[in-house]
Each structure stands twice: as C-alpha cells, then as structure tokens.
Subunit: 202 residues, 2 copies
C-alpha cells in the first residue's frame, strides 16, 4: 500500500479503493477478482498490484476504518442530551448512512456472513466496549424513567438491523415496494414512529 505522494498516485489509489468497494461489497472477498477491480478502476492488473501488493491488502484497507466511521453516530449519542432526541437522531443518521453509503454497509454485511474472519477481534473488543458503554447510558435513562424499559443491547441491535436492512436488502425492498417509492424516506418515517412508540415512558 503505497502512500500517495503524487497527484496521479493519489488518484489511482482512490480509484482502486472505490472500485474494490464496488466489487467486494457485491461478491465478498473470495468472490471478487483483481481483474474486475482493475477494470473498474481503469488500470491494468499489474498496475493495481503496484499500488496494493496483494488482494488481501486491498480488502483490509477497506475494512480498516470502516467500523470506525460506521460507529461514529453511536459514539455521538450524548449521555447529557435528551434521550428521545439522542436515540431518534442516531436512528436518522444510520438511515442516512445506509442511503449514502450502501456499499460500505454491504461490505460489512458480507464480512459478517463469512463469519467475520478479519474483524472478529475488533468486534469482541472495540465494538463490545462501545456497546457496553452506550447500553449503560440507555440503562440510566430507563432508570430515570425518561424512556421506557427494554433490553438496551438488543435495542442497539434493532437499530442496526432495521437501518442496515435498507442498504443490504435494497433489491428486495425495491422489488416489493415497486416503482415510485423512496425507501429511505419511508424508512425514516417508519422508524421514527417505531422508536417513539417503543421508548415513550408509559
């Protein structure tokens, strides 16, 4: 992974990662080929391998940082803010992520389906810690009666599942809705109602 020094290097470097995101997010690590990535990036295969010495390094370059940006909205949930506002804001930002970065969502989903061979450790450490921390915040809000009681960790799971579904199962959602729908706008409306009803204190 050459550090981009010149403009042409930076451009090719970015083109490769963008192309790789296309291909890996659709076919997974094993299903993707360097030929496809090189073609999508507008480079020859040897030239691609000049920038990234191996297929694995292209893939892990994409994964690195993905979880971080993916979790930024959760990190942003403020313990001192208004509970409903914080949670609904998190849901909304996750819907926006699914709408604006569906390839990243699918790349992540692919890695999970494979059993997360390259991410398992970070899931068990960084992710687990962050969820524990935010679950504690949710518990506090519940104890104070500011939101209704519910399993806080599964509450977080539900937000992930519901928002990422619209990116990962995009084909299915559109096939069922048919033309003339904006899945993400409808998702935002639906999920706002869902979490309001779930979390309204009695």
């Amino acid at each position: 992974m050459t550090k981009p020094r010149t403009k042409i290097q930076a451009k090719n470097h970015a083109a490769i990662l963008d192309a790789a995101l296309d291909v890996f997010s659709q076919s997974g690590f094993r299903g993707a080929t360097l030929d496809q990535i090189a073609e999508a990036a507008g480079l020859s295969k040897p030239n691609l391998l000049y920038y990234f010495p191996s297929k694995d390094l292209v893939y892990t370059s994409l994964l690195n940082g993905l979880l971080q940006t993916w979790l930024d909205p959760l990190r942003a949930m403020d313990p001192n803010g208004d509970p409903a506002r914080e949670i609904l804001g998190y849901v909304r930002r996750k819907v926006e992520l699914s709408r604006d970065y569906p390839r990243e969502s699918r790349l992540f989903a692919n890695e999970m389906l494979q059993g997360a061979p390259r991410m398992k450790h970070i899931l068990q450490t960084d992710l687990r810690d962050l969820v524990a921390q935010k679950a504690a915040v949710l518990e506090t809000w519940m104890a104070e009666g500011r939101i209704a009681r519910v399993n806080p960790v599964h509450l977080i799971f539900s937000i992930w599942a519901l928002t990422q579904h619209y990116a990962d199962f995009d084909v299915q959602v559109r096939a069922v809705l048919g033309p003339g729908h904006d899945p993400f706008a409808e998702a935002d409306d639906f999920l706002t109602i869902l979490y309001q009803r779930l979390l309204s204190p009695d």
Copy 2:
C-alpha cells in the same frame, strides 16, 4: 440433477445439498468452490458433478424452494385470527427459523447482497404479491382499530430485518453479548415487547 432412485443416490444427493448450503451460505456463489463442497460432502469433485451437472445447478437447487419455505410463516398469518396473536406468532416463527436454519438465512442474504441475480424476478412477482396481500390484511386490522396505525409494508420489512439479523449477523451479536447469552431467546423476548408496544391500539 439426477432424480434420486437408489438409496445411495438419495444419500449423496442430500449430502451434496447440505454441504453446498454450508459453503454457499458462507462465501456466496462466486466465492464457493466445488472442491470445498465435494470435500464437505465426502465425494470426489467428478462424482459431485455426476449428480449436479454444474455449479450453477447446485446453487439454484438450493435457492428453489428456499423463498417458499421462508415465506410459509407469513402465509400462515390468518386474516380471521386475533391481530396481535397472528403478528406476534409470525415474529416468533421467524425467530425460530433464524435459530434453526441460519444457513438458509445467510444464503438468502448473500443472494440479496449480490443484487439477487437469480431471484429478482420471483421477488417482483410472488413475494410482492404475497406482501401486498398481507399488507391489506394489516390495513384492515388498522382500520378496525384492532392494531395501531403504521406503514404495513415497512412493518413486514421490520420483522424480516429484526429476525434475520440474529442469523445473518450471528458473529457480531455473539461478539457483543459475550458468552453466557442465548441470543435467540433474548431476541424473542425483546421483539415481543417491541411489537406489542408498536401495535397496541392507543
């Protein structure tokens, strides 16, 4: 695809499909290899190709019928039953499917991530029709005030997303929960509460 006539044929046929489910559900169509499937089935590669003339036919044999069994619980939702009971029963059966048939869930998820090249048509026809029909049932219940108002199609999406998440993202769920948890039992509890609160008429 030979029709199983002898006992040994039936056994090998089943062994191949079971092995293929393992491999395809983890790596997707392109990422899976006949070598892996043959080895897992305890057969040689040529022998595998004696039963299924091509990789594609093994894969499509798995897909055929998958959507049908996957949707049986939705089909079973009875318009004449008690609304809350019918919906919560559907959720429960979907959780059980995720628990008992996670490979099928992941195979389906893989196909969706790839853009559903082999299922798009059936999604736009059979699936769409079934959802429209059941959404109409839900609308009726809402109009009668027996459950709270909410977008019925997205309600169905939410059940799919929330239940299948526990099969498809099993690694992540377990990594975050840590040992000593039963993800599916907890999911059942959480989702029962979620849908009770979402759908209780005021």
